[in-house]
Amino acid sequence: MAAAERYLNMSARDLRLELEEVYADYAGCLDEDRFEDWPAFFTDDCIYKIIPRENFDRGLPLATWRSEGRGGLLDRVVGIRKTMMYAPRYMRRMITGIRILGWQDGELSVRANYLALETLNDETTKVFNAGQYQDKLVVVGEHLRFREKLCIFDTLLIPNTLIFPL
């Protein structure tokens, strides 16, 4: 509880620094191919969705990727590592423009831009997906964790496949 208090009373500047670190660690985890560590950024009861902006804007519920709970995230990791077939690739995530919308009922609402760059064999690096995170974080133990992460993307026409998390 003490940690929650600490975050709630934190100055805007300190909170921003905390979030900068959360997002940098998040991007690093994914960019460095440490998918097994990815679910730890979330709460047990999290919801993670990657949604085309056209669906989001029209209030259509379909997500291109929908993971429910940390178990759902782990299943995606099993998919990436064991069951799905895809060409080798690197993905790099740029997270910028973090905006803190504020606390409500113990949840911190944050928005940020992201850009995912994809590099495939025989191809130059391209912008794979551009979008906005609409996140809700809560304090778990000593850390901020995502309870909800929506990746709402502008790139409606996905270049072939979306395999790795954003």
């Binding site: 990727w65 929908r66 759902g72 072939n160």
Partner: protein
Amino acid sequence: MGDKPAFPDYVWPEGGLSRVPYWAYSDPEIYKREQERIFCGKSWAYVALEAEIPNAGDYKRTFIGDKPVVVTRDEAGGINVFENRCAHRGVQFCQKHLGNTPEFMCPYHQWTYNLKGDLIGVPFRRGVKQQGGMPADFDTKDHGLRKLKVVARNGAIFASFSDDVEPFEAYLGTSMLALYDRVFNGRQIEVLGYSRQLIPANWKLMFENIKDPYHASLLHVFLVSFGLFRADSPSKVQMDPTGRHGALVSWKGEQAKTEALADMKSFNADFKLNDTTMLQPHREFPEFTVVMTTLWPNIIIQQQSNTLAMRQLITRGPGEFELAWTFFGYADDDAEMKQRRLRQANLMGPAGFVSADDSEVMKYSQQGIGPSPDAEGVMEMGGREWQDEPHMVTECAIRSFYDYYRKVMEL
């Protein structure tokens, strides 16, 4: 067009139905002929769901082959499909995926069309200060947008560039019509959302993929591991009498370790899901759990347990196509069913646990096929001819597709 000598070098390989020449996937002349004869020929192309344009003035922008078209709902409730190409200078005037408008105005010179595609306004038609203007005999009736034939059946809309295409029901044939009516059964459709992907492969590879049950239990580790489909599942492959349409149908059978599993290297009984909600189908349709219907020339109707989707093929040249997914349910679905459809949708689309494999492998195909137009593919699984089969160990629906394709293309 239409004369064999235009394609002197394009000789279909020996072996007929059991071979496909690789030039068919990459040649620009073949692609051009496909546009003329297949997409603009005597076919009914899928364009929209009625639920996307429920009200007067609603429109959807889409494509048939390469050609941009607009689907509208007019004031009288009628459905219209016309080319998205201004009759004046060819501008693609409609740019939004979906919208509502009382009329369409081309931004370039403000030629204006009503919801049926008739030209209703031409600025400066009488000139300005007695100067210029259109010739006295210019008649707006002669300059409407190119209109297509339209048919709607139980919620889905199809259009044709051909005036003498056969009636839709006859076009589908009895067996395909019955499968179509299973999903489009008169219940009000509700759109759940879209996914779009650009697949760097020839459009025919997508049809082949859905007409090919041979790969399902081999490529898709996910399907096999979690018992959704196996080569020993009870199943069948059906075609219409022309061979152009096809359907893979399967239903739930006993899942046990059998001999067939020995050949499926992808089977791993150890994989377990933490979140099994996406694998909890609810029996919804009679008899079959999965029906994947491919309708010539541009649509796959997917009923995979409780996920329903239209997968529309939009060609973008010989080596690329857009796959536009429209996921849907029924307006009277309860909250649980809606949730189920959204969860199971995780298996499908550009990030689908199952269908991402297909998109990737289609790219691999094009990468292998493209540089070798003189080589050919082999399709002898289940024989060298085609007929309906009560099993999935066959490529008969691909053979039937090319049987019809060759007739239309005169190849």
